[in-house]
């Protein structure tokens, strides 16, 4: 309720602002932000849009003499809607840049639109490696699953874990995670005793967890989308796998900062690899978290929000470089090789793949001042997306 009211207030303030300066016709660049704001993936949409708005709130809404206008549209997480909205935004509303995209299929659906209209498209959340291949106008500020699954494999092999069972959601990102974790872990001398795939809409993890327990591995590697991850975590603890000596290692999606605190004790001690944690220790991140909480007091910024924030950072930096020219070829040329310091640490855009290069952190869930946090303890520096690096 409150959030919506502040939104309306913010919108009306913005309108007043517009009304006040009609005298000199400042050119505006519309950025179409397409996100799942309703439906099962609404939390993704909320986080990304909050991150993007935080950037505008802290950096102003003008860059290179142009005014940036954010147009947020809801695709409810269905790909055909995403595509329709993308077309509408480009054709009717004159959006010059598209951004957002909560899930892989949604980002994929926009590929042809981006190519035909030569519209720069910034993926802020979806994580399957191949998305940037869908169009040469797509770039990304979140991360790819191979990018943050692989270091978990490295870490596991280096830390005395010999036998692992993998358990992933049975869809694109899950299979990416399974493949790259296993590949790295095996290359470093580990053994995958079993690979379990869980249907995406799965109500009860009991049978899969029992399978893991009976396989008696040293650890279980998990990728699940964040909501299901929380449920999994509780059942993992309930089944006594921790006592049976099975470690839980995962990608950061499972210990999503947004809901980590409500997972309670079972989450403690979980080891995950990811590109951002709310508790990341840097002045940039402290400033970011403070600014984010100012606009969204009841939310905790998670990795999706930082994808939104950095997406806007990328758009601003690219426009700065092109002196306010948002046309596709110029914009994309500017994007390639961009680097900046994000709340998550130093990041850059790979000139060859247009995908993000960033640090991946290993974290452990700990109780920090009465709240559960992902506390970073090791860093893998400047990782590229391994899938596209290998394909070359």
């Amino acid at each position: 309720m409150l959030k919506r009211r502040t939104l309306i207030a913010a919108a009306s303030v913005a309108l007043c602002g517009l009304a006040a300066i009609p005298a000199y016709a400042q050119e505006t660049i519309k950025v179409g932000l397409i996100l799942p704001m309703t439906g099962p993936f609404a939390s993704t949409g909320r986080q990304v849009s909050a991150g993007a708005k935080t950037f505008i709130a802290t950096h102003g809404d003008t860059v290179a003499g142009k005014k940036i206008e954010l147009v947020i549209r809801d695709d409810a997480g269905t790909a055909d809607q995403t595509r329709r909205i993308a077309q509408e935004l480009v054709v009717n509303d004159g959006a010059k840049v598209l951004a957002g995209f909560g899930l892989t299929p949604l980002a994929m659906a926009v590929g042809p639109v981006a190519t035909q209209a030569k519209i720069p498209t910034v993926v802020m959340a979806a994580g399957t490696a191949s998305i940037t291949k869908a169009s040469e106008y797509i770039t990304r500020t979140s991360g790819t699953l191979p990018q943050y699954s692989l270091p978990v494999g490295t870490w596991a092999a280096q830390n005395g874990i010999k036998k692992v069972v993998t358990l992933v959601s049975d869809y694109g990102p899950g299979i990416d995670a399974e493949k790259w974790f296993s590949k790295e872990f095996k290359a470093k001398g580990g053994e995958i005793t079993e690979a379990v795939r869980v249907p995406l809409a799965n109500p009860d993890f009991a049978p899969f967890l029992q399978r893991v327990r009976d396989a008696k591995p040293d650890a279980v590697f998990v990728f699940l989308p964040s909501g299901a991850g929380a449920l999994f975590m509780k059942q993992f603890a309930d089944r006594g796998l921790t006592e049976a000596g099975v470690k839980l290692i995962a990608t950061g999606d499972v210990t999503d900062d947004d809901i980590l605190n409500s997972m309670g004790k079972p989450a403690l001690g979980t080891i995950t690899g990811h590109f951002y944690a709310t508790a990341h220790d840097s002045p940039e991140n402290k400033a970011y978290v403070a600014a984010f909480k100012k606009g969204n007091p009841d939310m905790r910024p998670n990795f999706m929000s930082v994808g939104g924030y950095d997406g806007m950072a990328l758009i601003y930096a690219a426009l700065e470089k092109t002196k306010g020219d948002p046309t596709g070829p110029a914009f994309m040329a500017a994007v390639k090789g961009l680097s900046w310091v994000s709340p998550r640490g130093p990041v850059s855009i790979d000139p060859e793949t247009r995908d993000i290069i960033q640090n991946i952190y290993m974290r452990e869930v700990k109780d920090v001042g009465g709240e559960l946090h992902n506390v970073e303890f090791a860093t893998f520096k400047d990782l590229k997306d391994p899938e596209k690096a290998e394909a070359k």
């Binding site: 309703t38 609404a42 249907p199 009991a206 399978r211 509780k234 809901i259 409500s262 309670g264």
Partner: protein, 285 residues
């Protein structure tokens, strides 16, 4: 092996509590209420709010979830549902699916779209060994509670005066009215009771099945399978169907994980070919 059986029974029990209200409305009142899951969700959210915002014990949340869902059921029955008893089934389906979407949107607006989590009291979490079989405490609690409810339900329907009135009202509404049975009141109470059971199921399922605004849609299929396989004219039919589905689902996912999710659908198809009217049926209806 026994653990799998145990997990399957617990899951089946939960499905039964969630779906048996639907059996009552669909089978006894002849109303296709796809919004059944919405009442379950209401119960779940009552529990989440009471536990997480006000710190009330889980044990008090269960009856509260029942009462609140029953009250919502009663109000909706009196204001909306009762006008549609005589309407064609298509109208009922459209109406109740509309309620589902409204419930989803409303929940999303007020509570947010994220997965809701509750923390069970310590005596219900963890697991223990019973004769070498690993048994989750909460699942054991679920089984016991649901088994008691199933027995009580069966007794109410078959042995009490209210049960016989209800069956009479269903079999022939006009004659029942003629005999002085206040059919609207009987239906309203039954509907409220079914909704309350769903709410209880939602509250108990929050831990195992999870809870988010899409709960009613996610589980609608499971409810419908339970009811269609079990038949709608008894309580024991859906009970057995729920058990069968729970065990088949858990065992299927354990032994043949590659095709695990399809096991229950395969089972449903076979059951419906063999017994198109459900496991138990009074036949000819």
């Amino acid at each position: 092996m026994l653990t799998i059986l145990f997990d399957g029974i617990a899951y089946g029990m939960l499905l039964f509590i969630l779906a048996c209200g639907l059996t009552v409305t669909l089978g006894l009142m002849n109303f296709i209420n796809l919004a059944h899951g919405a009442f379950a969700m209401a119960g779940g959210y009552v529990t989440v709010i009471m536990m997480n915002r006000y710190g009330i014990s889980f044990y008090w949340c269960l009856p509260a979830a029942f009462l609140v869902s029953a009250a919502i059921g009663l109000i909706l029955e009196r204001t909306l549902y009762q006008w549609l008893y005589q309407a064609p089934h298509l109208d009922q389906v459209l109406f109740s699916i509309g309620i589902v979407f409204m419930a989803i949107a409303a929940t999303d607006y007020f509570m947010g779209g994220q997965q809701q989590l509750i923390n069970l009291p310590p005596e219900l979490s963890g697991r223990m060994d019973v004769f070498g079989v690993g048994v989750g405490r909460y699942r054991l609690f679920t089984i016991i509670l649901c088994a008691i409810l199933a027995v009580v339900l069966q007794l109410i329907l078959s042995k009490t005066r209210f049960g016989s009135r209800l069956r009479a009202a269903v079999d022939d509404r006009r004659v029942a009215i003629g005999l002085g049975i206040n059919v609207p009141v009987v239906f309203a109470l039954t509907f409220a009771f079914g909704s309350g059971l769903a709410g209880l199921g939602g509250a108990m399922g929050a831990e195992i099945l999870g809870l988010d605004p899409n709960f009613p849609l996610k589980f609608m299929i499971y409810f419908l399978i339970v009811v269609s396989v079990g038949g709608t004219s008894t309580v024991s039919g859906p009970f057995l169907a729920a058990m069968l589905l729970g065990i088949a689902d858990v065992a299927g996912k354990y032994y043949v994980p590659a095709i695990g999710p399809f096991v229950i659908y395969g089972l449903m198809i076979i059951m419906l070919i063999l017994r198109p009217n459900g496991l138990f049926t009074r036949g000819g209806r």
